[in-house]
């Protein structure tokens, strides 16, 4: 490695530098693991006491009213689920559609405008979207659907959909982009139309990447806080019917964000909020593990194809 002609330091000097750099990189790598472990430990330490303080049946009950010691978290879970599902229903078809358009159909100039634009949308602070939601989306929804208030699960779903959309588009587009051009040409040469090629060849070939895109999009939506807190109305009511989409709900994230600031440190309420955080952590862990399991499986398949 060292060239005596133009190296400035001596050999031992270099190996010393090497030692420091290796150590620093290793420390940086391990620190990520340590941080995640610490976060998890902290969540468990603050959240698990809930199970001793609130009985199981009280915890999974229908009423969330902490001031009077009602700690039923089912309404919050249902709120998160319904808003996230709504967001997924919006973001997935639109996202995959947009990805297909960008990668397969759009002319080059449109692609070069659309791709950065979508990424820009992804960088939009969620509080700005929430602001637009309160001022523009919610009033219009109220008038359009003739609702008592526009601050509903639907408004949250639409905005979360918009937040998840760039993730879905970006990842799905990358996946479609890695499908070799030869696959498409192979299908075209057989007389398949562009749409037949996309539907039967390109999309199946990019299946795992598209699935990852969906998972990451949902993960993005589930953890989003600011926007949902601003537009869903924050009523902790059990939401299980499709009709609940048109009434106010409260998500898990919004509950933590809204109440954590005022809670007494170490109280039952405090522990319960951490317990909710723990559940959220587990939700997104499951989603991410599923996503990477899907990717891992398809990677093995891809290696088989390439070998």
């Amino acid at each position: 490695m060292s060239n005596p002609g133009n190296s400035t330091g001596t050999k031992s000097d270099l190996s010393w530098q090497e030692y420091i750099i290796t150590r620093a990189i290793r420390a940086a790598g391990y620190s990520a693991v340590v941080f995640v472990a610490l976060i998890f430990y902290f969540l468990l330490r603050e959240g698990l006491p809930t199970l001793g303080e609130v009985s199981f049946s009280d915890l999974f009950a229908l009423r969330w009213y902490p001031i009077e010691n009602y700690f039923g978290i089912l309404p919050l879970i249902s709120g998160t689920v319904i808003v996230t599902l709504g967001a997924a229903l919006i973001a997935v078809p639109f996202g995959i559609g947009t990805a297909i358009f960008i990668s397969e159909i759009a002319p080059r100039w449109a692609r070069e405008i659309l791709k950065p634009l979508v990424e820009l949308l992804g960088g939009l602070p969620s509080v700005v979207l929430g602001f637009l939601g309160i001022l523009v989306l919610a009033p219009n929804l109220r008038i359009l659907l003739n609702l008592p208030t526009g601050l509903t699960a639907l408004a949250g779903s639409i905005l979360l959909g918009a937040i998840a959309l760039p993730t879905v588009v970006s990842v799905a587009e990358d996946a479609l982009d890695t499908v070799p051009r030869s696959y498409r040409e192979g299908a075209w040469a057989l007389g398949a139309t562009r749409w037949q090629t996309i539907w039967r060849v390109t999309l199946p070939a990019a299946r795992s990447g598209v699935l990852t895109a969906v998972m990451l999009g949902i993960g993005r939506a589930i953890g989003e806080t600011m926007t949902v807190m601003m537009v869903t109305g924050n009523a902790p009511v059990l939401a299980v019917t499709p009709g609940a989409l048109f009434s106010p709900v409260r998500t898990m994230t919004a509950t933590i964000a809204a109440e954590m600031g005022e809670v007494a440190n170490g109280s039952v309420h405090y522990h319960t909020l951490f317990f909710i955080g723990m559940l959220l952590f587990i939700f997104s862990l499951v989603i991410n593990v599923t996503a990477s399991a899907v990717v891992f499986r398809s990677k093995k398949r891809a290696e088989k194809v390439l070998s």
Binding site: S182, Y183, A187, A189, L190, G191, A192, Q196, P204, K304
Partner: protein, 256 residues
């Protein structure tokens, strides 16, 4: 130009330029006879693949800057904007240098082209699978595992699967772009043998991956150099007594 019933494809004053300035074709005049193997060969960048891709209009319109002249298949100018490209591609099959096995089973790889044409009858599809696999000399090797994924086959088998896939559509013309470049000699021999059989029914245009293969397989041969057609004649003549100095140099291995 006098017409000759024996010509399947007539290329007249055909020129093409790409947007990025690479590999263009200049004023090509070529008549490709039916029921024979016509070999298009020459050094890389000579425009061989470009010409093949024009014959089934697989060139991306976005990459092409200008395209002039005529390409007649059975007296129909396929460069005409009114041409039904999907129909054309069913008539002109293509096999690529690297086998492009679609991400589905062996059977579906073959029936895919027919299915997108709207063929649904199981009996017809099964018949096509067996017929085309036999024509491509692959039937005996895969008959027991038609529902396995196509990518599980070896490289040589994959390439013959691609050939079978084009044959299933019963095209009139088959374009082969260095179909054996990634194959071992035994698989290459099998592909070449099936081509000799197939030329009785089809018009075959082959871009070979070596001069030796060109000499082995050519009924007719066209030598392309830097976007120009240098020489075209019967294979025997071109490889034994070329009339152009450049052809002779290339064929005898002095360059290329």
């Amino acid at each position: 130009m006098e017409t000759n019933l024996n010509d399947k494809i007539v290329i007249e004053n055909f020129s093409l330029q790409y947007v990025d300035g690479t590999e263009s074709l200049r004023n090509i005049n070529l008549r490709i006879p039916r029921n024979a193997i016509t070999v298009i060969f020459g050094p890389a960048g000579g425009g061989k693949s470009t010409l093949l891709r024009c014959l089934n209009r697989l060139n991306d319109p976005a990459d092409v800057k200008t395209m002039n002249g005529r390409i007649l298949i059975e007296n129909e100018n396929i460069l005409d904007p009114k041409t039904d490209i999907i129909r054309l591609r069913r008539k002109v099959g293509m096999v690529f240098a690297r086998p492009v096995v679609l991400p589905m089973s062996i059977r579906s790889n073959i029936t895919y082209g027919l299915e997108v044409m709207g063929e649904k009858r199981r009996s017809k599809l099964n018949e096509a699978v067996e017929r085309s696999l036999k024509q491509a000399a692959l039937w005996e090797e895969v008959r027991a595992r038609l529902d396995e994924p196509g990518v599980a086959l070896s490289g040589g088998q994959q390439q013959r699967l691609c050939l079978a896939r084009s044959l299933a559509l019963e095209p009139e013309i088959i374009l082969l772009d260095e179909p054996t470049s990634g194959l071992d000699p035994i698989s290459t021999g099998k592909v070449e043998a099936s081509l000799q059989e197939l030329k009785k029914t089809y018009t075959i245009i082959l871009v070979p991956h070596s001069v030796q293969q060109a000499a082995r397989t050519a009924d007719f041969a066209a030598f392309f150099l830097q976007g120009e057609l240098v020489e075209f004649s019967e294979g025997k003549t071109l490889f034994t007594a070329p009339s152009d100095k450049r052809t002779e140099d290339y064929v005898t291995g002095r360059f290329g």
